[in-house]
């Protein structure tokens, strides 16, 4: 059985383990020395502080953001099979990343690069889904809007892939697989907004609990649906856009993590949101550590690993625990 202390202990253990494994051998003694500020070899210090630590923190922040967002989106849509991608954030980010890669930086000269255009794409697409859904009136309308706009975005990415050169196509494909190899401290500073967003999401817990009863019942519990819906969608879009912009698309964590938490720790969102953040961070950290050690010194895109691990696991979960998942 999972609980908060176990999650935190695993996260710390994962952090230390991940600091020590990789292409270059680093011992626990080195890590302690560096973290305590003792003089050790410049190489070890650089590897620990400038390469591995930012990458680890980025994995924890981004994975945590995706996990908590998945939990919030599943709650909002009252559907345990929902995923943050449903609100268009991933496909929108992917589309803008592809635009940047294919049409070129000239087109987006005002933006600082791939990450910024992906972030903007994620947010813009989400706003579009939100607006279409608002005119439809209900949460299901927004779900349908999300599906339609996702399809349009994916078609546009297909079009861009079709007209792109081989090099550009490789860029698009690689980005869509997700990777943390570009991690540096600047990325970590940007990603440190994610824990704040997760905190804001957890303030919505009681309302998320109420909305799982259905919109009509939630109104009778004193929940104003319209504002609540916008807050949840914008907060998750922010968290996921930051993640997607910095690392590319990371599959399956947003879907699987909240399920695992509900199975083991219950469905109350006061628990599910923070626990999904911790477990999401832990899983992405483990996956990323595996992705850079399995084929060291080469790297496997981490999105492939999360999908390979998450997919079969999810199938197993669905077959075994049907009733308890609420599907």
């Amino acid at each position: 059985m999972l609980n908060f202390s176990l999650l935190i202990i695993c996260l710390l253990a994962g952090l230390i383990l991940s600091l020590s494994v990789g292409a270059a051998k680093i011992t626990l003694v080195d890590i302690r020395a560096v973290l305590q500020g003792f003089e050790v070899g410049d190489l070890q210090k650089t590897i620990i502080l400038d390469i591995r630590l930012p990458r680890i923190l980025l994995a924890i922040f981004v994975g945590g953001g995706i996990g908590a967002s998945g939990a919030a989106i599943q709650g909002l849509f009252r559907n345990p099979l929902a995923d943050p991608a449903l609100i268009g954030v991933s496909s929108g980010a992917a589309l803008f990343a592809a635009l940047y890669l294919v049409v070129g930086s000239g087109f987006f000269y005002a933006l600082s690069g791939l990450a910024a255009s992906a972030f903007l794409g994620g947010l813009l697409t989400t706003c579009l889904v939100l607006e279409v859904g608002r005119r439809g009136g209900t949460i299901s309308a927004m779900l349908l809007a999300g599906i339609a706009i996702n399809a349009i975005a994916i078609a546009c990415i297909g079009l861009l892939s079709y007209i792109s050169t081989d090099m550009q196509l490789r860029g698009i494909a690689f980005w869509a697989l997700g990777s943390l190899s570009g991690a540096d401290w600047n990325n970590v500073y940007v990603a440190s907004a994610i824990p704040i967003i997760v905190l804001a999401l957890s303030f919505e817990s009681a309302r998320l609990n109420a909305i799982t009863l259905g919109e009509k019942d939630a109104i009778h519990l004193g929940i104003s649906i319209a504002g609540f819906r916008i807050r949840i969608v914008l907060l998750t879009a922010l968290a996921v856009s930051i993640g997607v912009a910095l690392t590319g698309v990371i599959a399956f964590i947003g879907l699987v993590v909240p399920h695992l938490i509900r199975l083991t720790m219950g469905s109350m969102h006061q628990t599910v949101i923070p626990a999904s953040a911790l477990l999401g961070g832990l899983l992405l950290l483990v996956a990323d550590t595996a992705s850079r050690t399995l084929l060291a010194p080469a790297e496997l895109p981490v999105g492939i690993l999360t999908a390979l691990m998450g997919g079969p696991f999810f199938v197993l979960l669905v077959m075994r625990k049907k009733g308890r998942l609420g599907i």
Partner: protein
């Protein structure tokens, strides 16, 4: 202390769902809403409980639309016909959701949940997962959630149930009506949308018979449940018998021909 609907009309696009509704829901009364399918019973319940923000509804003489939705949730509880809950909450967690509108302490809320579990005999379901329950069990839990919402202010509460007994067996139906009587005795105003005219006639203080969005008849069950009204509302030929078995069991019983 009353909830009043004055000349309420409600339409969706071109379809007139309710016309010229004038009703007063009073404390300590059980109101039954009966009528054929599509007569507007559910819509009327949603209008009265304030979830459609219709003009013409007042709570203690204050227009409902002027009351903040959080305040309404403390006074009015409403169980819709079908529950959409699809998440593996445990029974006691679902009950706890009823306390969301209130700013009362955690221990107070937990005491209320335990009281309601005692009152409804939900002990065996207490730690069960909602999504694994049968339809009737789910309904009992949802009824419990509604009770939790108003348990500590029954004397000023209005409760609405839309076909609450549809999924319940006979024994649990009677438990439910017993409970409604208890709520009314403590001062709550109870409104029930019911399909079973005999149960409605047996347990309601006031009946409202609806047809095509209009009130066809209202008053005590013996005034409303008559051969003519049944014919007019349902186009069903029936015999209505007066049951006077004991002083406590008096009701008009409808038997279709």
């Amino acid at each position: 202390m009353s909830l009043r609907l004055t000349d309420v009309n409600y339409r969706i696009e071109k379809k007139q769902l309710l016309s010229d509704i004038n009703i007063t829901l009073r404390p300590s009364e059980i109101n039954g809403f009966i009528g054929p399918n599509g007569a507007g019973k559910t819509t009327l319940m949603r209008v009265a409980s304030g979830s459609l923000n219709t003009p013409g509804v007042t709570l203690n003489s204050v227009p409902m639309t002027a009351l903040p939705i959080e305040y309404r949730a403390c006074k009015l509880a409403c169980l819709n016909q079908s529950s959409e809950l699809d998440f593996p909450f445990k029974c006691f967690e679902v009950l706890r959701l009823g306390r969301i509108p209130h700013l009362t302490s955690r221990s107070h809320n937990e005491r209320i949940v335990e009281d309601v579990i005692d009152r409804l005999g939900l002990h065996s379901l207490r730690n069960r997962v909602y999504t694994t329950m049968s339809g009737g069990e789910k309904q009992r839990v949802q009824i419990g959630r509604i009770l939790c919402q108003i348990w500590d202010n029954l004397d000023s509460a209005f409760v609405f149930f839309d076909e609450p007994t549809a999924e319940l067996d006979l024994a649990h139906q009677l438990v439910f009506f017993d409970l409604m009587k208890m709520l009314a005795a403590k001062g709550a105003s109870v409104s029930l949308v019911l399909h079973d005219i005999n149960l409605a006639s047996r347990f309601a203080d006031e009946l409202v018979l609806l047809r095509s969005g209009r009130i066809l008849a209202m008053g005590s069950p013996s005034e409303v449940v008559t051969k003519q009204n049944m014919m007019q509302a349902f186009s069903v030929d029936s015999e209505v018998y007066r049951l006077d078995a004991r002083p406590l069991i008096q009701a008009n019983i409808v038997i279709p021909d």
